[in-house]
């Protein structure tokens, strides 16, 4: 800010408060709706929270909505968590290994493999839905956590990010390690991994959100309610004839909470991960 204009400051705060209000509005409405009694949501929605919050959340958590064939939220949240963690850990570990191979070894077809990994950037699941589904069906991976996570763990962005980062590590590190007689595994475990901790953590935040929010993929390959994840479960609840909105909105709040908390508590890592994966 280069000059002091009290009116401009007032105006700026007004704009920001309106902006924040608009951004928060849908979630506020969800919170309000999730605390109402079932009958309250037949008419126009009240603007203040009701008093049935605890019972709605308990009901959703323990028993789900049986008329919509929806399992308890506790189970769906657990499924989402397992899927998100499997995708995150899978992506990080295979990307670390392949970046290590590409930077610290000279071998035939290095460029070929690099481009092969790069191509995955151009093939999002949405554009190759049916053939990928067929592959997973042929491998008998429908309705399993392996089917939910393994097809999504290839990651060009993570591999590139780790490659970039490894390139900035001074040559002397490797030279010193080799003089001291360290082999590739020792070097990877005792030098590369500790140096990459911040990068790994930043990517972890981004990948966890990516995994948690998967929608199309679980929708296709799980038909068994035991594997329903929370994000796709909510869609199923809303497609009823008369959705029980007070319970649906309780599920929405529970589904949004984990990734939002991850962002709020790890904001610095999140921003780092976001800006670096895209550049």
């Amino acid at each position: 800010m280069v000059e002091n204009r009290p009116w401009a400051n007032f105006f700026a705060h007004t704009v920001l408060i309106i902006g924040v209000a608009l951004v928060v509005f849908p979630v506020y409405i969800a919170l309000v709706a999730s605390t109402q009694a079932p009958g309250e949501l037949m008419r126009t929605l009240p603007l203040l929270p009701g008093s049935h919050g605890i019972e709605n959340y308990t009901q959703m958590w323990q028993s789900g909505i049986s008329s919509a064939n929806s399992p308890p939220a506790a189970l769906m949240l657990w499924n989402s968590f397992v899927m998100a963690m499997a995708i995150t850990v899978g992506k990080l570990s295979i990307s670390l290994l392949s970046a290590f191979a590409i930077v610290y070894f000279r071998f035939r077809f290095r460029m070929f493999f690099f481009w092969l990994i790069f191509v995955t950037l151009m093939l999002p699941v949405e554009v190759r839905i049916i053939p990928t589904f067929q592959v997973v069906a042929d491998l008998n991976m429908l309705n399993s956590f392996a089917g939910l996570s393994i097809p999504l763990i290839a990651s060009a962005t993570a591999t590139f990010l780790f490659r970039q980062f490894f390139m900035t590590i001074p040559e002397e590190m490797l030279e010193a390690a080799r003089v001291d007689g360290a082999g590739p595994f020792k070097f990877f475990k005792d030098i590369l991994m500790p140096l990459s901790v911040t990068n790994i953590a930043a990517l972890f935040v981004i990948m966890f959100i990516y995994g948690w929010n998967q929608y199309l993929w679980p929708l296709l390959i799980t038909t068994d309610p035991d594997y329903t994840t929370i994000v796709m479960g909510i869609q199923r609840m809303t497609s009823e004839e008369n959705p029980q909105w007070h319970l649906v909105m309780a599920a929405v709040v529970m589904a949004a909470l984990p990734p939002v908390l991850v962002i709020l508590f790890m904001q610095r890592l999140f921003v780092k991960g976001l800006t670096e994966t895209e550049k």
Partner: protein
């Protein structure tokens, strides 16, 4: 491409390290993409028993098919709408936050979290707010004499999905604009204000042009987002309706393939989408090489 000056010896080890990534890529990316290419050249009979080679007939049919052309224009409107709404709101918020000193981090925290919300959930939230019978916004619109109904009106439905998609993307654009704004040298702005330029003048003649690399980058990212990551919004809310008015390309691939079981046509649509992703990725990467510069 460079490696380190000094590398580890090892004939098989690098291949073993690459193996997990490469195997997953081959099985779940390259092979299905190849299958899509192959199937796009075939046509199955009504019972799925035999398929015949038809060359580019599937593509030719698509470009004669009114519903596909409709889907293309719907996608264009949706992508442009989402990009415009979310980028302009984000730019307004980011340049306002950038003025702040003490409250900057508070506002940033309050604005970034929607990134975490899944597209499908964003869709359900807005679907609920705009619900014609119990939603709060149609109630307010009715007071000013507008009958909102996204179940019948195609334009209402389109507006709804654009709002939901843009809302979720604001935080992403906001963060990148804020980073872009902070990299603009303060001395330029000081010099302009000494010359008597008003805040508006400074924004349009100095800040906005200097932001153009960020703006261009975000435009590409937002178009990619609107075209490919919004499947959940459409599927959880309008399901392409009413009367195909929100049937974006990604949703149509799914609907034709899984619901309509028209494999040849769905595969041809997949191939067209792949071509679009490739073009957009190339644009994005060329941009990183040579930024728009002044």
């Amino acid at each position: 491409m460079q490696t380190k000056r000094m590398t580890f010896p090892g004939r098989w080890l690098p291949f073993a390290l690459l193996a997990p990534q490469v195997i997953v890529t081959l099985i779940f990316f390259i092979w299905p993409a190849g299958q899509a290419l192959y199937q796009s050249l075939l046509r199955e009979d009504a019972f799925g028993l035999r398929s015949t080679f038809v060359g580019l007939e599937n593509f030719a049919r698509l470009f004669r098919d009114g519903s596909y052309l409709n889907s293309m224009s719907v996608t264009a409107i949706f992508a442009v709408g989402t990009t415009l709404v979310s980028m302009s709101v984000a730019l307004l918020l980011a340049s306002t936050v950038n003025r702040m000193i003490r409250s900057r981090s508070t506002y940033t925290t309050l604005l970034v979290w929607p990134y975490a919300i899944a597209p499908a959930i964003a869709g359900v939230l807005w679907w609920f707010i705009f619900n014609p019978s119990i939603g709060i916004v149609p109630y307010m619109l009715e007071m000013v004499g507008y009958q909102w109904n996204h179940r019948n009106s195609g334009s209402d439905a389109m507006l709804l999905v654009i709002l939901a998609a843009a809302w979720k993307q604001i935080s992403y654009n906001f963060l990148f604009f804020l980073a872009g704004l902070q990299s603009i040298p303060q001395s330029l702005i000081e010099a302009a204000s000494i010359d008597g330029a008003s805040p508006f003048k400074r924004f349009w003649t100095i800040i906005f042009p200097l932001l153009s690399p960020t703006t261009f980058f975000l435009m590409v990212v937002n178009v990619v987002y609107a075209m490919f990551d919004t499947f959940g919004i459409i599927h959880a809310t309008t399901q392409g309706g009413p009367a195909q008015s929100t049937n974006i390309l990604v949703y149509k691939v799914y609907a034709d393939g899984f619901v309509g079981l028209n494999l040849g046509s769905s595969a041809a649509q997949s191939v067209i989408l792949m071509v679009i992703v490739v073009v957009l990725t190339v644009i994005q990467f060329r941009f990183i090489e040579r930024r728009v510069n002044y």
